[in-house]
C-alpha cells in the first residue's frame, strides 16, 4: 500500500477516494478509521509513501498520531500530510511544530477539494523522491 488515509468520516473517505481515483491512486489506499488503527498499521511494518491524516479522530486524535510517528525513529521518515477541515491557526502551528510535512485545509467546494487532494497524492507518491523509493 502506498497511501495511508486516516479518516473517520465516511463521506470524506468517499470524496477523498474519488479525488485520488482521478490519478488512479485509489487502489493504493489503506484506510484507518481512527488514530489507534493508524498507529497499529504503521507499527506492524507498513511503510506507506504518504499518510493523509485528519485531525479530528475518535480514540486517538490526529495531532497525537503525528506526535507518535514523528517521535518514533523508525517511522519518522514517513511523510505526513495533514488533511483537515480546521483552518485554525493553533492547529496549523502545532502540526508543523510536531513535524507535519504538509497542511491542507479541505475546501468546501468539490472541485477545489478534488484538486487539492489529488494533487497532494500525486505529489507525494509520484513526484516526491523519498527514502526507499
Amino acid at each position: 500500500m502506498e497511501i495511508l488515509l486516516v479518516e473517520d468520516n465516511a463521506d470524506d473517505v468517499a470524496l477523498t477516494m474519488r479525488a485520488l481515483a482521478k490519478y488512479n491512486l485509489d487502489s493504493l489506499v489503506h484506510l484507518a478509521r481512527d488514530g489507534v488503527e493508524a498507529l497499529t498499521y504503521l507499527r506492524t511494518g507498513h511503510r506507506p509513501k504518504v499518510v493523509l491524516l485528519d485531525l479530528k479522530l475518535p480514540r486517538l486524535g490526529g495531532l497525537e498520531v503525528l506526535q507518535e510517528v514523528k517521535g518514533d525513529p523508525a517511522l519518522r521518515a514517513i511523510p505526513i500530510v495533514v488533511l483537515t477541515s480546521s483552518a485554525e491557526e493553533p492547529d496549523v502551528a502545532t502540526a508543523y511544530r510536531l513535524g507535519a510535512n504538509s497542511y491542507i485545509v479541505k475546501p468546501v467546494d468539490f472541485q477545489q477539494f478534488l484538486d487539492a487532494v489529488s494533487e497532494a497524492g500525486l505529489y507525494w507518491l509520484v513526484l516526491n523522491y523519498s527514502k526507499g523509493t
Binding site: N9, D11, A14, S85, A87, E88, E89, F110, Q111
Partner: protein, 738 residues
Amino acid sequence: MPKPRWHAAWDRLSIVTKVPLTFAVLLTLVLGSMTAAAYAVVRRSAVSAATAQLERVARQMAGVLAEEIESDGPMLRVLVTEPAIRDYLRRGDRAEGEAVQALLREYVAAREDRLFSVELWSRSGERLLSVGEEQPPLPAEQARILVRETEPATGARTGPVRLAGETLAYPVARAVIEGESLYGFVVERRRFTTAPDELRERSALLGASAHLLLGRRDGTLWTDLRTKTDGPPVAVRLDAPQRYERHGEEVLARSVAVGSAPWVLTLEMPWPDVVGAATRFLYAALALSTVLVAAGAAVGSTLSRQNTLPIKRVTEAAELMAQGRPVPRVMLDREDEIGRLASSFNRMADQVEHGREHLEQLVERYRLLFEENPVPMWLFDLETLSILDVNESAIQRYGWTREEVLRMNLRDMRPPEDVPDFLASLTSTGDGWERPGTKRHWRKDGSLLEVEVTRHYFWLDGRRVGLTAALDVTARRAAERAVEESEQALRRANAALEARVQERTAALQATNQELEAFSYSVSHDLRAPLRAIVGFSNILQEDHGAELSPEARQHLETIARNARQMGQLIDDLLRFSRMGRHVMTTGTVDMAAVAAEVAEEARRQDPQRYVEIVVGALPPVWGERSLLRQVFANFIENSMKFTRDRSPARIEVGAVPRDGEVVYFVRDNGVGFDMRYSDKLFGVFQRLHRTEDFPGTGVGLALVKRIVARHGGRVWAESEEGKGATFYFSLPREPRRA
C-alpha cells in the same frame, strides 16, 4: 573637713579689721620675743650685779666686824702673860686675888667702852673670877666649845655673839700658857663698839631696803644688831648667794663668815630691788612695744582702709547688683589693680544692665508666648503634679477659672482609667521633652477633649517642672475618623466592585472559551457536511447527469451553490471572530507596496476583465502588514465586484495626510450605494445589495472595520448611487500606546 570656729569667725571679718589685726599680731610676736630676750639678759645681769655687790658689801661689813674683834688682840696677849694671873690660875691662890683683881680692874677700866668684864677661867672652862660688870656665864656647852677651840691654839678665840640689852656682846678667850703648860683662860666679855647704824649705813649702799643680819654659825641666834630676830629659813651657805622668802618677802641673800668668829653675817636684798632695773626695763619695753603695736595697727588700718574702701564700694555696688537694684558706677582715680577692678566692675555693671534689659525683653516675649499662645499650656510641678501656671487659652478651652485650675492636680484632668498611663509616661523620661501622643482631658462641663500633648521638662526654682502644650485635636480626630470610615466604605465598595469585575471577567473568559470551542467546532463539524453536500451534488451530476432532467440538474446546482455560500459564510465568520482574539505583530508597513501587491492579485483573479487600478503615493504607517493587506484586499475586491458592469472600470487607491494620521481611500466608479444606509455598511451580515446581484456574505467590511479599529483608526464611506463609491480608512502615524 569642717573649719574650726575661729577660722569661720576670721572669714567673716572684714579686711579692714583683718589687716591691722594681722599687723598687730605680727608686731606683738616680734616685739614680744625681742622684749622677752632682752629682759632675760637684763635680768640676768642685774641679778649678777646685785649678787656681786651684796658679796662685796657683806665682806666689807664682815671685815669691819673682824677688825673690831681683832683690834684688841695685843692687849689680851700681854695680859695673859701677866705672872699674877698665871700664878693665880696655877695655884688657885686666892691670896693673890687682890692683886689680880686690881690688875684686871685696871685693864677693864682702861677699856671700859668695849669691855663689860674680864673673867679668868680654869682649864676646864669653869669661871673663876669676873672683874667688871659681871655678865651671865656662858652656857656650859658654849664654854666647853670655846675652851676646846682655844686650848690648842696660841691666838685668841671669839665666842658666840649674844644680845646684851641693845648691844651685842661676845666673848673672846685666850689661853694662859707657860711653856707647854696650860693654866687656864682669860676671857674678855666684850661689847660691840661699832655702831649698828654705822653698819647699816654701809648696807645702805645697797639701798634702804637692804637688811643686815648677824647670827651664830650654829643658827641658835640671829640678830639685826639690835634685837633678836628670825634667821634665814634655810641652811645658810657661805660660798654662794641664796634666794628665799622671809617674812613674806622674797630676798637675795649673801652670807659670809666674820673673821674666825663663829658668826655669820647675812646681807639680804629684796628681790624686787635686785631685779628692779630689769623690771623697769621690761615695763619700758612693754610700753614701747604697745606703742609700736598700736602704731603698726594704725598703719595697717590706714593702708587697708585706703585699699579696702574702694573695694568696699565695689562690693556694695555688687551687692546692689545682686539685689537687682540700680547700680552706681564706681569712679576711682587710680590705675592700680583696684582701679582696674573698679573699671572692670563698671563694665560688668553695664553688661549686667544690658543683660537685664535683654532678659526682661526675653521674659516679656516668653510671657506673651505663653500667655497669648492659642495652644492651651500649663506649667506643673513634677513631684506633686499640681498646676503652677496656666495660660488664657487653656482657661478658655477647658472652661475653669484660673483659680480653679491652680487648685487642680493633673490627675483630676483626665478620666481615671487614663491616669496610670499618664503617670507612666511622666516617670519614663527625665529632662528634655516628649510627645506622649493623644490624651483625653476633661473640660469643666464634663465633655472630653482629645488633645495632642507636648511636654518639656526643666528646672525652675529648684523644682522639676513640666510645661505642657495641649493642642485640641477633637474636631480633627472626628474628621479623620469620618475620612477613615468613608475610606473604608470606599475600600469595601472597591473590593466588591473588584470581585464583580473578576466574576464578570471569569464569565467573559468562560464565554470566550466557549466561543473558541464553538469556532473550532464550526470550522470542523459544519464544514464537513457542507463539503459532503457539495461533493455528492457534484458526483451526482457527473455520474448521473445524463439521467436527470434539466430541472433536476438545476436543483442540484442550487443545492451546491447554497452549500458553497454557507461555507464561505462560515469561513468569513471564523475570520471575523478570530480577528477579535488576534494578537497583533506590528512594524512599519509600506502601504504602497501592499496596495500594489493586492491590485496585482486582483487583476490575476479575473484576467479577462480590463480594470484600471491606480495606486498613488501611500505613506507608510505602523501596524500589522497581513491585516492591512486584508483591508486593501477587501476594499479592492469590493470595488472589483461593484464595477463589474463598468467599462472601463476604474479603481484609485490614494492617501491624504492629516494631522497625526493618514487617511487612505479606495475609490471606484462602480454602482455606488444609497448614502441613507451608509451606517449599515460596516455591520456584520449587513448588505446593501441582493446576493443575486452581487455575491457576498456581509462580513468583509465588518472585518475591515474591526482591523482598522484595532490599529486605532476609523472607516467610513461616501457614495452617490450609480456614480461610484469611496471607502476611507484613517490610521495614526505613530504606534498606538497599548
